[in-house]
Symmetry: C2
Subunit: 432 residues, 2 copies
C-alpha cells in the first residue's frame, strides 16, 4: 500500500506532514516527503492521506482476551464477591469453543481500536491461537499458571500445556504468534512453581508474564508470607526475572523494587483503567520512567475495564500519572505514545515493530483528523493523546495486511463473532 500526502508520527514520534509511506509485503519499505519513482518499488493500492495521521499500531501488553465473554458480568460487586461468585464459576464452565469465539471478538475489538498485538495470559491457549491466527493480529500468548496445591511443577497439566503450547505455537502464523510463559502471580502459586516456570523460560529463551503488586492486600500479604519480601523481591529470588519479563500492574512498588525492575530489564505493564475501576490504586509511572524502566500499557481483561479502547487507555495512563505524581508535567504526550507503541513492542520481543521506520514490519494505523475534536492543532501529539476518540482509528494494518478499514473487518465476520460469542455466553450462564 502507498499512503500519499499523509501526516505521520515518525520513529522519533515527530510529526511530519505531506509524507509518502510505502509498504511491500510485511514491511515498511518507503518513507519520504517525495512521491516514490518507479525504481522505488511497486506498493500496490494507493491510500489518500489527506486529513489523516499514519502512525505505529498499538501494543497491548497485558490482557485476558477471552474475557470479552465476561464484559460487565458481576459489575457492582466487591472484588472478592465478583471473583468468587461470578468470575471463577463462569470460567469454570469455559469450553474451547467459548474461548475461541471470545478471543475472536477481542481481536475484532482490538483491531477496531488500533491494537495490532496483545500479550495475553489465559488458558485454552490453542483455541486462542486459532482465533488470533485467523484475525491477522499478533499475540504473545501465555498459559497462566496457578498452583498452591503442592503438586510438583511438571506433574501439573498446566505445565505440560505450557510446554506443548511453546513447542507448537511459538513463532507460528509467520511470527505473528509468540509464546510467553506465565506465573499468574505470587499469591496464587508456591515457590517451586515460580522456580519451575523461571527455569523453563531460561531453557527455551522466552519471556515471563506475571501479575505483580496489583492490590495493597496482595502486596502486604506477600511480605507477611515471605519474611518481608515484596512480590518483586520474592519473584526475583526465584529467578523469574532472569529472562525478559512483563510485570503487570506494579501499583504498590516500594524501595528496592524499582532497582530490581531496572537491573533485570523488566517491563512494567500499567493498566490504569482497570486499576481505577477495581479501586486498586495508580501505578507510579513517572517514577518508573525517571529510572529508565521500560513501561508499556495494558487494558487488562474486558471484564475489568470494560473495553480495549487503547486511545482512551493512553489518555487515562497520562492523566492518572499526573494526578498520582501531583504534577501536571509528570508525563509527556511522547512518553505516553512511546509506552503505547515501541515500549510494548519491545516487551513482546518484537524488535522490528512499534515504530514507523523503514525496514520495520508494517504494523500501522490511520487516525481520522477530520473531526471537530482534533482542531485546532497546537501540537498533534497532544490532540492524539488527549482529544482523540478510540473510534477515530479508521484503518489497522498488521504485517502489511489491512485488517480493518472504515467499519469493515477484513479478516473477521463480525456479525458471526458477536452471535457466537453471545451464544457461548448464554450457554455458560444457563449452567450457573
Amino acid at each position: 500500500m502507498l499512503f500519499k500526502n499523509i501526516t505521520i508520527l515518525d520513529e522519533n514520534l515527530d510529526v511530519k506532514k505531506n509524507m509518502y509511506v510505502g509498504t511491500t509485503g510485511e514491511k515498511i519499505t518507503y518513507i519520504s516527503s517525495e512521491e516514490p519513482k518507479a525504481q522505488d518499488g511497486n506498493f500496490g493500492e494507493t491510500y489518500d492521506g489527506k486529513g489523516k495521521l499514519l502512525m505505529s499500531g498499538f501494543y497491548n501488553i497485558h490482557a485476558h482476551s477471552p474475557m470479552t465473554l465476561l464484559r460487565g458480568y458481576g459489575e457492582g460487586l466487591a472484588l472478592q464477591d465478583w471473583l468468587t461468585k461470578k468470575v471463577f464459576p463462569f470460567e469454570d464452565k469455559l469450553t474451547p469453543s467459548a474461548v475461541y469465539w471470545g478471543t475472536l471478538l477481542a481481536m475484532a475489538e482490538s483491531i477496531r481500536f488500533g491494537i495490532v498485538s496483545t500479550s495475553d495470559m489465559y488458558y485454552f491457549c490453542d483455541d486462542m491461537a486459532r482465533a488470533i491466527d485467523e484475525s491477522g493480529a499478533k499475540d504473545n500468548i501465555a498459559r497462566g499458571i496457578t498452583n498452591f496445591s503442592g503438586t510438583p511443577f511438571w506433574d501439573m497439566t498446566a505445565a505440560k500445556e505450557m510446554k506443548q503450547l511453546f513447542e507448537t505455537h511459538d513463532g507460528s502464523a509467520g511470527g505473528r504468534i509468540k509464546v510467553d510463559v506465565s506465573l499468574h502471580a505470587e499469591y496464587t502459586n508456591d515457590e517451586q512453581t515460580a522456580r519451575g516456570i523461571a527455569e523453563y523460560a531460561k531453557e527455551v529463551g522466552t519471556s515471563v508474564h506475571v501479575h505483580v503488586s496489583e492490590t495493597k492486600k496482595e502486596h502486604e500479604e506477600c511480605k507477611a508470607r515471605h519474611g518481608g519480601m515484596t512480590p518483586v523481591q520474592f519473584l526475583n529470588s526465584t529467578g523469574l526475572f532472569d529472562t525478559p519479563s512483563i510485570a503487570a500492574h506494579c501499583v504498590w512498588l516500594e524501595g528496592e523494587d524499582f532497582d530490581i525492575l531496572k537491573e533485570k530489564n523488566v517491563t512494567v505493564a500499567s493498566n490504569p483503567i482497570s486499576n481505577l475501576k477495581l479501586a486498586s490504586g495508580v501505578c507510579n509511572v513517572p517514577e518508573l520512567l525517571r529510572r529508565g524502566i521500560n513501561v508499556g500499557i495494558g487494558t487488562d481483561g474486558p471484564s475489568s475495564n470494560n473495553s480495549l479502547n487503547f486511545i482512551e487507555e493512553m489518555k487515562v495512563f497520562a492523566i492518572a500519572s499526573k494526578e498520582r505524581y501531583g504534577d501536571p508535567t509528570a508525563i509527556t504526550t511522547k512518553e505516553a505514545i512511546f509506552a503505547a507503541t515501541a515500549a510494548g513492542a519491545k516487551a513482546q520481543r518484537r524488535d522490528d515493530c512499534g515504530s514507523l521506520k523503514k525496514g520495520n514490519r508494517a504494523d500501522l494505523i490511520v487516525i481520522d483528523l477530520n473531526q471537530p475534536h482534533m482542531h485546532p492543532v497546537h501540537d498533534l501529539t497532544y490532540n492524539l493523546v488527549y482529544s482523540a476518540s478510540g473510534s477515530d482509528v479508521v484503518l489497522t494494518m498488521s504485517d502489511g495486511k489491512v485488517l480493518y478499514q472504515n467499519g469493515e473487518f477484513k479478516t473477521i465476520d463480525l456479525e458471526k463473532a458477536v452471535f457466537e460469542a453471545e451464544r457461548e455466553t448464554a450457554k455458560i450462564l444457563s449452567q450457573l
Copy 2:
C-alpha cells in the same frame, strides 16, 4: 421522528427493547412497545432502531466552550506557568469573532459526542449566544466575573455585561439559551463582588455558576484569608448559594461543606478528567451522592481535558470515584448515567429535559450497538458507561431537531468552523 424497534433507557434508566418513541415538535409525545396507530399522531420521518440505543442526551454542566481555540496550547507546563505564560496572554487577545468560531467548533464537538446542553462560563457572551443559537444546541451562558481591584460591583463593565446578557438572552432561542450569573471563584474576587452577584441572582431568579475548591492551594489559601472559612463556607456567607447554584470541581471539600451544599441544594459539577490532568485531585462523588447532593458532570474547558467526549468523561467519573473511595462498588452505572443526564438538566433549570419521558423535550441521542466492544450484553448500562466509545453516538437531537447524524452536521458547516477557528487561533498566536 418515529424511532422504531429501538432499545431505550427509560426515565428510570431501565433498559427496554423493541420500543417505539415518537417526537412531535419539540417534545417526546409517544413511548410504547406497540407501534403507534393513526390516532396517536403523525411523527414524520421513521428511524430504524435495530441495533441502536435511544436515550437522553448529555448535559455538560461545567465548560468554557470558546477555549477550543486553546486545545493543547501550553501543554506540559506547570499550572502557574501554563496560566500566566500561555492561557491569560492568549485570552487577552481574544476577539468577538474568535469567541464566535471557538464556540461554534465546541458546539460541533459537543453534539458529535451527544452533549445537547452546556453550562458555560466565559466572556464575549453575545458572540457565544450567536454560535449556540445557530447550532441548535442549548446553553446556560454565564459571564464569568473576576474582581479583586476593589472596584465597586456595579461600576464594573463585567457587571453591566452580566445584566445586559441576562436581559437580552435569558430564555432566547426558544428557551434553548438561558443566562446564569457567575462569580469566577473566591480566590479571584473580593467579598462585595460575591455579594453583588448573589443579590442580582436573587433579584432576577437565576442560578449561580462558580469554581469551588478545585485545588488544595486555593482551598487552603481561602481558609487563611477568611478566618478558617473554606470556599464553600465563605461563598455561602455572601448569600451566593441562596439561589440554585452550580459549584464546579469541589475536590477538596471538608466537614461542614457537605452539609451546606446539601442544605442549599447546590449542584456539584465534577470534572474528573480535568482534575486528573491538572493533578488537582479527585472529587469525592460517592460521599456527595450518599448525602443526597445533586452531582452532575462537566468537561471543563477543552484546554484542560482536551475534548468534550462525554461518554469518556462518564467512564472516568465512575472509575476515578471508585479509586478515590477505595471501593469498586462506590458508584453504580445508573448513578453515572443519571449524573450525565437528569442531574445536569436539573442544575440547568431544565425540568422538562434530561430523561426519556413522555412530555419532556426531545433531547435525545442514539448509540450504535453494532460494535464489537458493545457485546456481549450482561447489562446494557454497564456497556454504555464502561465499554462505549465517544464516537458511538450516531444521532443527536435537541428539542426534536436532529443536529447530527452519521457524520453529518445539520446546523454547522464543520469544514468552515474548523477553518475559521484555526484562522482565529493563528491570528492570536501571531500577536504573542
